[in-house]
């Protein structure tokens, strides 16, 4: 599979739970948990490269998840790296890599914009 270079202007998609639990708070802001890696690998966060993805596939289940997008320049400004890492089932799969502190997760969450996905 071809590996693409992610430009700073490219957008990355992150799937966020909205239905028990919801990572959106009462005031509509996004919890920092949305950009916190799992314990499987604390230095990597899975995302989809928007230009290779379809919203329908990325969202998985619109009743359970919402899609948020963030420009690749944002994590890079926080000393994180964005790399295209396709997997067999998802060519758009990419990773944000680096040290994820609570502050960094908060900044990423506040920078992300919810996408209105019509399916």
């Amino acid at each position: 599979m071809d590996i693409l270079i992610i430009e700073n202007s490219d957008f990355l998609l992150r799937r966020v739970p909205i239905d028990k639990p919801s990572y959106f708070k009462q005031d509509g802001t996004l919890s920092s948990l949305a950009f916190r890696p799992s314990s499987k690998n604390r230095s990597e966060l899975s995302v989809d490269l928007e230009k290779l993805a379809t919203y329908e596939k990325s969202i998985l289940d619109p009743k359970r998840f919402a899609l948020c997008k963030i420009q690749a320049s944002k994590p890079r400004n926080l000393s994180l790296d964005c790399i295209h890492a396709p997997i067999e089932s998802n060519y758009a799969h990419s990773l944000i890599k680096g040290k994820f502190t609570d502050s960094i997760c908060r900044i990423l969450s506040s920078s992300a914009k919810k996408i209105d996905v019509q399916i």
Partner: protein
């Protein structure tokens, strides 16, 4: 003990009109108290407890990104602490499971917030923010009766 239905009170003295107005006034006050925003916020703490019970039943990978199941210790400690907060009159603003299987709750007052995370190893850490800047972060002793941070939150 205030009766909510004075007209059905067997021992109610109907000759005492002062008692009627006192009773009605008290009922109005009681009703107003329970309907107040503050009380509604406290009652929501029970909803957070119910939610956390639900979260504890979520399967692994509930977030589609390999999230762990919520640990029993995180569940127990968070529920116990929310009950303590309720007894102190402190409403919980937000609660959620974390990808690592912990429980996170947030207390909030205007531009200040406190996030409290209950870890699967029994440790609890709080982070206090003011205008989104980290003010303080430290280990929280769940047995500590002096929850000084709530004073900071309300000032």
């Amino acid at each position: 003990m205030i009766s909510l239905f004075p007209s059905t009170e067997v021992n109610y003295n109907i000759d005492s009109t002062n008692s009627i107005s006192e009773y009605y006034h008290s009922f109005e006050e009681l009703s107003s108290y329970f309907n107040s925003t503050y009380m509604q916020e406290l009652l929501k703490n029970n909803l957070h407890i119910n939610d956390i019970l639900y979260y504890s039943e979520l399967p692994k990978n509930w977030d589609s990104y390999d999230a762990d199941k919520v640990s029993l210790l995180s569940f127990n400690n968070s529920v116990k602490y929310i009950r303590k907060l309720t007894s102190l009159g402190i409403p919980v603003y937000f609660s959620a499971p974390t990808p690592e299987g912990n429980i996170l709750i947030e207390l909030r007052n205007k531009h200040k917030s406190i996030e409290i995370e209950f870890f699967s190893n029994g440790k609890t850490i709080y982070s206090a923010y003011e205008n989104d800047y980290l003010f303080e972060s430290n280990i929280l002793n769940l047995e500590d009766e002096n929850f000084i941070l709530t004073s900071w939150l309300n000032n």
